[in-house]
Amino acid sequence: MNRALRPLAATTLIFVLAFAAAALQYPALLSTRVLGDLLTDNAFVGITAVGMTFVILSGGIDLSVGAVIGFSGVLAAALISWWGVHPLVAFAIVLAVAAAFGAAMGCIIHYLEVPSFIVTLAGMFLARGAASILTQDSIPITHPFYHEISTLALKLPGGGKITAIGVLMLLVFALGTLLAHRTRFGSNVYAIGGNPTSASLMGVPIGQTTILIYTLSSFLAGLGGIVFSIYTSAGYPLAAVGVELDVISAVVIGGTLLVGGYGFVVGTFIGVLMQGLVQVYIIFDGSLSSWWTKIVIGFLLLLFILMQRFVFATATVPRKG
């Protein structure tokens, strides 16, 4: 097997083992109902995590995604419920605004050479602030179209179903994988993450790629916000507070290195499922308090990072002499 694929294989193996162990304890976990819900409940995190994977692959970070999810949901709800815009038109406007927001952050990061950490932190304040200026309260969405897409689902044998937003997440992951491995943009992202100086010397358009990466991340966070508004049938300015952490954790658990240049979109998918599994397990158990979720996810993060270090240490020659 390709050496570069080893951490991904190890992450997948751990997920399968964890799932098997959980399923042995609670056989009901194996039902299509639980599996379908795993996709639906984590759809907005998964979609956002695809964008975050590209950001982290390029060696950056995007702290604004949680706030962009909140803002997009509120904007969509305001457009539909207050101003009577058709949901599809509202989606287009929301996605355009989110993409423009990401492009602006990308421009500041590239042209002013300010670290992405700080720029996206300011972006987080800006998006969250804009959402709370639009409204302080939750705006319900009662448009019939919303009802239709939120109930649209593929029936599975065994009583489960994959909802439209679950399918959308799978689609985004598939497109993200193609974008990462089959396009020039994808190769450029890996090149910048590996070594920006040599990427620039090889003729990779650093500026254009950087701006596109943050545009993509905000665009997908905007899509995540729309999905979240479909999931909850409402827009709320404080929705998805702290989701950037879940998203970054999913990417890290999925085996993408935070220094950039190494990782897979598929790994992120497993990272999202792994976090979903922890939550499902704690719900099934019933006696564990919800704060155990945080401790377990923290422990998982540690475990996966240690495992990756171990795999890397045996697979490659240590860089430091």
Binding site: I108, L112, V119, G129, L301
Partner: protein, 334 residues
Amino acid sequence: MTALSRLAHKLRPVLTVQTAALALVLFGNWLLFPGFFHLSIQDDRLFGSLIDVLNRGAPVAILAVGMTLVIATRGMDLSVGAVMAVSGAIAATLVQAGYPAGIAVPAALLAGVACGAWNGFLIAVLDMQPIVATLVLMVAGRGVAQLITEGSIVTFDDPWLGYLGTGSLIGLPMPVVILIVVAAIAILIVRRTALGIFIEPVGINASAARLSGLHSKLVLLAVYSFCGLCAGVAGILVAADIQGADANNAGLWLELDAILAVVIGGTSLLGGRFSILLSIVGALIIQATNTGILVSGLPPEFNLIVKAAVILVILVVQSPRMVGLMRPRSGRPK
């Protein structure tokens, strides 16, 4: 003229972008609220908006002191907010269980140091990236704090612990006094001991520092432990201020404010040269902006927008590109 130029020369270290920005924000506050600079003494204690900025800004400023050293080693500590929740939870739970503050406070500080040392261990010994290593504790720490408080908000009524949050000493509120003490200790350590000389090389080039015989690992361990200690102090202050420990909300997002304060203070996220005093100025800029929005009567919804705008303006002015544009050097190679 010579006297004037000598004065200008003396003032040079004080006249930085940061102090100018702080003056500008304070001036803006004064325009919005004419009584801003008014100070009064009641019951041997100073009162006024300026004191309030210092008092409210103290926890973030204390975090920023520790964070400055961490960032100077080219690191990052995302866990300080969660560590604040842990130390606050320990102090509150111990006091509520009947232990005196003389035991609860050192125990909470020790917990802060232990959290910092854990981060330092992951980074120095296991060679993890600082963001990931501290992300672990950022996620898990709040869960641990909730485990300590058993999910509830622990309130207490202890005069000594309460004094740390709301009392005053020589006319200043205790949080400000504690900030001054922490900053003084940190500045003494970094400017008067060998440890201080070692921090910058580790940040600039860790390999070179190690090859020239520096115990980089020990330096990192010490720096992260100190950052944990600062977070512990800030956590106790916040818990003492509200006479209770809220594991969910204590120190929430303060790690971001602290990192922001350090960056506004001019310390590069890429490590190296640092200034503790300017980081504190950075924390005060953030707090003065918050206070300004409050006193101006602007709806609080605008708080985040104004904050983001202030950050962007300061960052744009400080960014390498802009500095290059404003001060074109004649001898610059083309």
